[in-house]
């Protein structure tokens, strides 16, 4: 096969895999980009289930750029197929709405869905059909607009044996194992894992923003995982994966919820070591000069979640600290 023919064979294609008519003169299409190589396994990356989470869209862009360059220079290195689904909630992304507009529904609470019925169920079913059978699906979430998170993967302990070995190679900083009782059963990841399609939930950064260094970190991890899974040829040069994840579970993660309402101002930096009793921030009132509440670390550990949006209600989460002692880190 000539280089020109190989290039034509391997050119990425943008495909519409779901279409639905809107009430007035429009239809909604959900698209994916497919990079087809050899007959090897298929992997997928999905993003934008929540319309206010943009980190995954940028990861898809970076992966697409890397794959386009690979196909231009060494198309034979793509042994399998890669599918990128950067914008599953297209209407939400285009209108800055977290859930599915009009339906006021969180798409990630609609799985596995059903082929008939209203849009959320229909779309969820179409996404399931598209993704089932992949050797790995990475579902990328940003945090919400209130909290900033370090790059991490969240795994239901029910699937720990299957997913943790893959997650360790993803170049992330933390693997957070959740007890089965606390897992939401109607998410994409849970539904895929139940049906035997491995799905990792990556979470990082903050809502409505892009954190390029976190995205590039995850891109390196995904590429390394793809090479391990035989989607990329052995020896394919990749960005180095230099991050080793810490393991967290419900026993060593401490939540710091606001004791009172007001304005939270951080005193510590995100993703740093903190010590028991260290001041992490204060809740103040804009009506007076006094400090309403001090927020201090309950343990020696790592400040892996930090509030980004300053106003807090009584109970709002301001920070999470992963303890170094007594846990599995």
């Amino acid at each position: 096969m000539s280089p020109r023919a190989a290039l034509k064979h391997a050119a990425p294609s943008i495909e519409t895999f779901f279409t639905i008519d809107l009430p007035y003169c429009e239809s909604m299409e959900i698209r994916r980009t497919r990079f087809s190589g050899g007959a090897g396994p298929r992997a997928a990356v999905v993003a934008g289930i929540h319309g206010d989470e943009l980190e995954g869209l940028y990861v898809c862009h970076r992966l697409a750029a890397w794959l386009e360059e690979l196909l231009r220079t060494t198309p034979q290195a793509l042994l399998g197929t890669v599918e990128l689904y950067p914008a599953l909630n297209t209407l939400g992304l285009d209108t800055l709405t977290r859930g599915l507009p009009v339906f006021d529904t969180d798409l990630n609470r609609a799985f596995p869905g059903s082929a008939g019925g209203p849009l959320p169920a229909r779309l969820a079913a179409a996404i399931m059909t598209a993704l089932e059978g992949a050797v790995l699906v990475v579902d990328i979430h940003a945090s919400n607009i209130y909290l900033r998170e370090i790059p991490q993967v969240r795994i239901n302990q029910e699937f720990e044996g299957l997913l943790v070995p893959i997650a360790r190679r993803m170049n992330l900083d933390m693997i957070w194992l959740h007890g089965a009782a606390t897992v939401l059963e109607t998410t994409l990841a849970h539904s895929l894992n139940l049906r035997g399609t491995p799905c990792l939930v990556a979470e990082m950064g903050v809502g409505m923003r892009v954190t390029p260094e976190y995205c590039d970190q995850l891109v390196a991890g995904i590429l390394n995982a793809w090479r391990e899974l035989g989607i990329l040829a052995p020896g394919t040069p990749l960005p180095p994966a230099t991050h080793t994840p810490l393991i967290a579970d419900d026993s060593n993660v401490h939540y710091l919820n606001a004791q009172t309402s007001g304005m939270f101002v951080a005193a510590a930096s995100h993703w740093t070591d903190v010590h028991r009793g260290e001041l992490l921030g204060s809740i103040v009132s804009p009506f007076g000069g006094s400090v309403l509440s001090e927020v201090r670390s309950p343990v020696d550990g790592i400040l892996f979640t930090l509030r980004e949006y300053p106003l807090v209600y009584e109970g709002s989460l301001m920070a999470r600290v992963m303890a170094r002692k007594g846990g599995r880190s």
Binding site: I20, D21, L22, P23, Y24, C25, R98, G99, V102, D104, R109, G116, G117, P118, L119, A121, R122, N144, Y146, E185, T186, Y255, N257, T260, S261, G262, M263, S285, P286, F287, L311, V312, Y313, E314, G315, S316, L317
Partner: protein, 320 residues
């Protein structure tokens, strides 16, 4: 007596309370707990419960000499106080659904704290009733909804005297709802669905008000109630008895049909128009002979939207 279920602070406003009515003899155990407004836009339930509280207060004051409130009743017209005032279904600050926060916790997020307070106040009641509407797009016939009920709940559900009792299995979607959290406690739990969100539908509200008074009478909470003989039987519907019609095409749906009417198989119930050209693109026909228990009220349709539901009368076992 009015007391605050929960007093919370707010970032830059005064604090806010979730008030409730406590009625009946203080010495007795809580017999009936009624909860509305977990969603801030479900105004039918809020209106019904505020009117019920007014009525029961009048009973306590002696305005109705033939009636006596014999047992303790708790009435929370609206849990999502901030949502009611901002006309939003969810908790306005972080858009979380309070009815997905149960059982809640004392030290968690704001909405988890609210959920915890509601559950603590209501869970020991002998009878617990949570009132909802459908969303803003759809109208439900006032009905009792049962999710994985006990036999006792199936029987007691008839005491409301509403024309429809709908039984469903308990889905994982509901595990963090108030109704589900109640199930682990002794006693009986009911969910009433009344009309659509965003409005007060007076006829539905009056019907459910009478249903609640009837229920309080039959449970012995309110003594002296003259129980009316219902015009029609209560119908018991399982999921299999429901025939739903979904939009095959997007467009504008128009119908003048009312919920609660019996319809024939194939009867025209509405039309879908092309929203741009204005031509009829689909006649919506009843899929079965039965009771029209729900119909779409927002005219703009996505392909696949639920348009209506007709429930076929169950001949034998269902209608006990």
């Amino acid at each position: 007596m009015i007391r605050n279920l929960l007093c919370m602070t707010a970032p830059v406003r005064d604090g806010f309370d979730i008030p409730c009515h406590e009625l009946g003899p203080a010495s007795s155990q809580l017999s009936v707990a009624l909860v509305g407004g977990l969603h801030g836009d479900e105004i039918n339930g809020i209106f019904i419960l505020s009117r019920l509280a007014d009525f029961l207060n009048s009973v306590e004051k002696g305005d109705y000499p033939e009636l006596r409130l014999a047992k303790r009743v708790l009435v929370i017209p609206a849990v999502n106080v901030l949502g009611v005032n901002q006309r939003t279904r969810t908790w306005p600050f972080d858009k979380s659904d309070i009815n997905r926060m149960f059982p809640g916790s004392t030290g968690g997020e704001t909405t988890q704290r609210i959920a915890y307070a509601v559950l603590e106040a209501t869970k020991r009641a002998e009878f617990r009733i949570d009132i909802h509407t459908a969303g803003v797009d759809f109208e439900e016939l006032p009905q009792v909804r049962l999710y994985g009920p006990s036999d006792a709940e199936r029987e007691t559900a008839r005491w409301f005297g509403l024309s429809a009792i709908m039984e469903r299995s308990m889905s994982p979607v509901f595990t963090t709802t108030l109704k589900h959290s109640w199930k682990v406690w002794p006693g009986q739990s009911f969910l009433l669905r009344v009309g659509q969100a965003g409005t007060v539908q007076l006829e539905h509200c009056q019907r459910v008000f009478r249903a609640l008074v009837s229920f309080l009478g039959r449970t012995g909470v309110l003594e002296g109630v003259q129980l009316a003989v219902e015009d029609e039987d209560t119908c018991y519907f399982d999921k299999a008895s429901g025939y739903r019609v979904f939009a095959k095409k997007a467009g504008t749906f128009v119908s003048d049909r009312q919920v609660g009417r019996w319809v024939g198989a194939g009867q025209e119930l509405g039309y879908i128009y092309d929203s741009f050209n204005g031509n009829v693109i689909e006649k919506v026909l009843s899929p079965a002979a039965g009771l029209l228990t729900g119909i779409r009220r927002h005219p703009l349709l996505f392909e696949g939207d639920l348009i209506l539901r007709v429930n076929k009368k169950i001949a034998k076992a269902g209608n006990r």
